[in-house]
Amino acid sequence: MDALTRDQLAIEPARVLTAPDLLVGSSLPGWHAAGGGIGLRRALEDRAGIIGVLERAGLRGLGGAGFPTHRKWEAVAAQPGPEKVVVCNGNEDEPGTFKDRFLLGRTPHQVIEGALIAALAVGARQVVMYVNPHLGSVLPTVAEAVAAWRADPVLLELAAALGGPVTLEARASSGRYIGGEETAVVAWLEGSFPFPRRKPPFPAESGVHGKPTLINNAETLAHVPHILRHGAAWFRSRGRGGAPGTKLFSLSGDVQRPGLYELPMGTPLAELIEEHGGGMLMGRAFKAVFTGGPSNTLLTADHLDVPLDFDSVRARGSRLGTGAMIVVSEGTSIPRRVTEFVEFFAESSCGQCPPCKTGTYQLATLLHRIDSGHGTRADLDSIRQLCGLLPGSGRCGLIDGAVTVVASSLERFGAEYESMLRG
């Protein structure tokens, strides 16, 4: 869904990751011409200071969790031994999210350079670009970009600094939604089905084949070379209202101009919809936004003023997630959308934890009955019961996300469900 064109990009201010001159595809000279390589150079000059810069910049994990990046890096760096792994997570498969496929498909070098800087910071000699193979030509583009870096002499400098040869490779992920979960990434890279595992141990302590493993989202890593090049203060100044940096928002649903928008972190929801998304389609009334996974609490009309950053959205009881904003207007049914998402979760459940395996299936079945006009009040009561029972019953967060979106839609749009019941 590369709705983004050069023209659109040109009129948007404050672009860091999606500036037009960065959209060079797999061309490494193009990336160097656009200022690439400087961040890595700075990192090589002051290896010990890298994590400190990130801490001062306030970079957080942009794959959905919002965990401070420097703390994750510190945890891996603190592990003993040279056998460590850095994984760039480009498994993106959530409905409504299309940011990583843009970064990796159109401007992959900043992501790779970020991963190399991470390797330098934490002392890892193995770097894996873990990419969803179902995203058109994204994986081949990343593979070409990786090949270009392998031929670059800077890798030798990196090896010298790390005390041994550095391996850099692009690996196809399973392409399954669950394959983006950290421990599932580890399982897949070890050659197994991407089953999430119990935590602890966290991958930072014991990841791929027991090696300490740093797993960061592609968007997070993409920011790293820019931060090292321009400094922490510069990065902080890209944001609004105290939130640092920029964020890629995947805007979809009932707006006039859906697409990918890079905006300052902390941009209000209303501004994203009205100024960037061209307003609600056909001028209809705003009903709600599904954020992130879409596995979070709905943002409704009361929350149009919320600044879109991790803390502000959390303060309203929801989560920013991946930055996906699926907008729903009057005229579109909330229960139908929720049914679609829960069907996705039911299909995506790995089936390892029985409550998730049967719970997502039951939720999807009950919702489908309501959606197709057979639902009764008893079905709705069963859904409510399941929403009370299921949270926390899986190893990963899939079941929690599915329940959250159902429960919050029931709470705010219960009347819509009721109106669809039989009789």
Partner: protein, 566 residues
């Protein structure tokens, strides 16, 4: 949701053939014309077809067409009445199908005319479960009005090549050679299939061979017929077969209001409105076949029409929204011999069978002005020329030219009663005795030459969506020959049915079916600055007084009304 969009203001009112906008001329009085016809006429002059069509064909008139501004065929020209529908907003929203019953089938056939029945019978024979939905009743269609016959190269002196050449040339060489080749080469098999289904055809004097008539624009006699009720006979057989066949479900009075698609843009079914239940029903299907016919009821270029009440371009509208491309939608066929008088029957068809049996056309001076078996577009244009240049005939304010049925009866006594049954019916309704009095005729809007672009298996540009019959384009080019419409619906109905059955087997009815393409369509309308208050498909023409909003069951919860109003 609001009522189906209003008809363009000019469309219905001008059923008066004397009031064709761009023709303003005097005419010769009926009794004077009859007197002039007493003498035997000279042979007609050979027409200069290209010049005639440029000057006098309705499609060639200024302002007859305008370019489309959105959609897969943006820039293509089509009549304004059709453009208004093709570029209209949808009838329904996502909330309208929330809680609608879901029905699953392998193959969904939209349209219950000849093409729909052929496609359904073929798909069910391949082992698929088939649902046929039609907005009237099964067989209630234009197919039954096809009077002349069906072409197929079955004669000893005939050949596939001759049929191919005639079809392509008759269509001003605008047809797709692959489609035409498919049409003609499967013609004999189509006739065999129809006979196998139980259809009867007229036999020649020997009583052993199929009787063949001559069609306008053809090189050899090739029309097979059942007197002049061929379409009715074909529909009778197919309708019975469809109704009796287990595995086919038929929903009457159930218009399709929107197609459904999945995330990959593949057609996955349709939203049906049931006039019995007063509710929407969601049909999920592995493949969808559109056999919705043409657009005559839009009264293109203000012409009266021979078409059935259901010919409102619904299929074109639905498919175009989903991304199907169109072709030759600026080209319509005006059948030369529509009733011009009496006023109440204006536009009703008099079969080309009359001319193929030898009936002549005479102007107000009693002259023959065009070879009667020229292609239809040429004959119609020549008639409009006669009327436009003051040689038309006027009767009670209605203008046309004369179809010399008394002359035909004199030349072949008894032919009217034996072979022109439906002409007799029309004459009877008109209060005319065709043996003694000629019919006053004027071109009538008859057929949509173009339509949705298809491949040889009926596949459109949208995966999972197939077309057959009049709704499909590319076979007849810019003018259809008599008898090729029935052949087309059989040949391409069978092909689309088989291809859809194969696809449905491969895919199954699964996959989430959504209305996401509707939002994309609306974005395109907004971006192009087109109005959003016009709604389509029309479903029923204005004279049907149908209002979907008013017709819907009012028992649903109030939030829905509010959501719709927003």
């Amino acid at each position: 949701m609001s009522a189906p969009g209003p008809m363009p203001p000019t469309a219905i009112q001008r059923t008066d053939a004397t009031a064709i906008r761009w023709i303003d001329a005097t005419a010769i009085r009926w009794i004077d014309a009859l007197a002039a016809c007493a003498a035997a006429p000279a042979d007609p002059p050979a027409p200069d077809a290209p010049a005639l069509l440029r000057r006098w064909h309705p499609d060639a008139q200024p302002n007859a067409t305008e370019p489309l501004r959105v959609g897969a065929s943006a820039g293509m020209r089509c009549p304004p009445a059709l453009a208004a529908l093709l570029q209209a907003n949808t009838l329904i929203d996502d909330v309208d199908v929330a809680g609608a019953a879901v029905v699953e089938t392998d193959v969904l056939v939209i349209g219950g005319g000849g093409g729909g029945c052929v496609a359904a019978l073929t798909a069910v024979a391949a082992g698929r479960k088939v649902l046929v939905v039609t907005k009237f009743g099964l067989g209630d269609s234009n197919t039954v009005m096809a009077e002349g016959g069906i072409q197929a190269a079955v004669g000893a002196e005939d050949s596939l090549q001759a049929h191919y050449d005639d079809t392509l040339a008759g269509g001003q060489r605008a047809g797709d050679p692959t489609l035409v080749r498919t049409l003609v080469s499967e013609g004999p098999a189509a006739i065999r299939w129809l006979i196998g289904q139980g259809m009867t055809f007229d036999l020649d004097e020997s009583g052993h061979n199929l009787r063949r008539k001559r069609a306008g624009g053809t090189s050899v006699p090739r029309i097979l017929s059942t007197r002049d009720v061929t379409g009715l006979e074909l529909m009778r057989v197919l309708r019975e077969a469809t109704l009796l066949r287990p595995g086919i479900t038929v929903w009457n009075r159930s218009p399709a209001v929107e197609l459904l698609s999945d995330a990959a843009g593949r057609c996955r079914g349709a939203v049906i409105y049931s006039l019995y239940l007063h509710r929407f029903v969601t049909v999920r299907a592995g493949a969808v076949i559109l056999t919705t016919g043409g657009a005559g009821r839009l009264h293109i270029n203000d012409f009266p029409t021979s078409n059935h009440l259901g010919a409102t371009a619904d299929g074109l509208v639905l498919a175009y929204r989903l991304g199907a491309t169109l072709r030759e939608v600026d080209s319509f066929q005006y059948h030369p011999t529509g009733v011009a008088w009496p006023r109440a029957l204006r536009g009703q068809l008099i079969s080309e069978a009359a001319r193929s049996l030898g009936a002549q056309l005479r102007n107000g001076r009693g002259e023959r002005f065009v070879p009667e078996l020229s292609p239809r577009d040429v004959v119609a244009a020549a008639m409009l020329r006669e009327i436009g240049e003051g040689r038309g005939v006027e009767r009670d304010g209605c203008v046309g030219v004369l179809l010399d049925t008394p002359g035909l009866e004199r030349a072949r006594p008894g032919v009217l009663a034996q072979s022109l049954v439906s002409l007799g019916h029309v004459a009877h309704k008109s209060g005319v005795d065709p043996v003694r009095e000629p019919m006053l005729v004027c071109p009538t809007l008859h057929y949509q030459n173009g339509g949705i672009a298809i491949a040889a298996d009926g596949a459109t540009g949208v995966p999972g969506l197939f077309c057959a019959g009049e709704v499909a384009g590319g076979i007849h080019g810019r003018n259809r020959l008599m008898g090729n419409a029935l052949l087309e619906l059989v040949v391409f109905g069978r092909r689309a049915g088989a291809a859809a059955a194969g696809l449905a087997q491969a895919a199954g009815p699964g996959g989430r079916a959504n209305l996401d393409h509707v939002q994309d369509w609306r974005r395109a309308l907004v971006a192009a600055g087109l109005p959003l208050d016009a709604r389509a498909p029309l479903l029923f023409p204005e004279i049907a007084n149908f209002d979907l909003t008013a017709d819907r069951a009012p028992h649903r919860a109030p939030h829905r009304a509010a959501a719709v109003a927003a």
